[in-house]
Amino acid sequence: MSEIPISYFLVLSAILFGLGVLAFVFKRNIITIFMAIELMLNAVNLAFVAFDRAHGAAHDGWVFVFFVIVVAATEAAVGLAIAITVVHNRQSLNIERVNLLKF
């Protein structure tokens, strides 16, 4: 049977994470910024699963993935609710236009 080095997965997760960071900095739309965060979380999950696989028997890695997913879900729920409120108050999804809280 054929084999894949773990490092492939790790590199992939690194790339995805980096892209997530870029999106996080680059995007202006609140919702897409949330998506960027989700992307980063996913990258981390991939790394977790890969490590778990590398370590074999015990599946603690999966547990972490599980928790990350749960947290991500809650984060999305609350975040989107906030986004809705923001839009209702500011009539804009552009995060650069939501800048009252300063100095």
Binding site: V11, V25, R28, I31, A54, V63, L80, L93
Partner: protein, 167 residues
């Protein structure tokens, strides 16, 4: 070039493509679709790593629930194209290069990780991994598990309050 390797590259490519699309598409819903693509690809990769349960959960929760929520909200707010304002000089001049630098750095170190030498055969993990996982969750990780349930409850309430106030 063996079958699993091919599959890996296919799905990895899809994932990266999706991520890039998510960044460069201006329509929020397109970004959302791109992200869904990433997630599905990741699920497939999980299967390659023998994490069936995680793959399923990934699709159910992320693709099936979280992203649906995103799409739903986008539809609800009828979010149009995002405007590329550049009010933040910092983000404009520093953010980009640093982000790229971070990516490169991470890739470099990840590729050099000692654990990376291990190889994985894309078969199902021995035994009943799902059972093991549940054992872990409900035995050694019981407390965190309960905490997360409380977290979910709180998030639910918070979302409720936020949504209720402006309705």
């Amino acid at each position: 070039m063996t079958l699993p390797l091919i599959l890996f590259f296919v799905f990895a490519g899809l994932a990266v493509l999706g991520a890039l699309l998510m960044i460069f598409l201006r329509e929020p819903i397109h970004s959302a679709l791109a992200l869904i693509l990433v997630m599905v690809a990741l699920a497939a990769l999980y299967l390659l790593l023998g994490a069936e349960f995680i793959a399923a959960v990934q699709i159910i929760v992320y693709a099936g629930a979280v992203m649906v929520l995103f799409v739903f909200v986008i539809m609800l707010l009828n979010a149009g194209e995002e405007e590329r304002t550049n009010l933040s000089k910092l983000a404009h001049y520093v953010g980009w290069p640093l982000g790229i630098f971070l990516t490169v750095e991470l890739v470099y170190w990840m590729s050099r990780a000692t654990i990376g030498a291990r190889v994985t055969t894309p078969t199902i993990a021995p035994g009943d991994p799902t059972r093991d996982l549940s054992m872990l969750l409900f035995k050694s990780y019981l407390f965190p598990f309960e905490i997360t349930s409380i977290l979910i409850l709180i998030a639910l309430l918070g979302a409720l309050v936020l949504a209720k106030r402006d309705s």
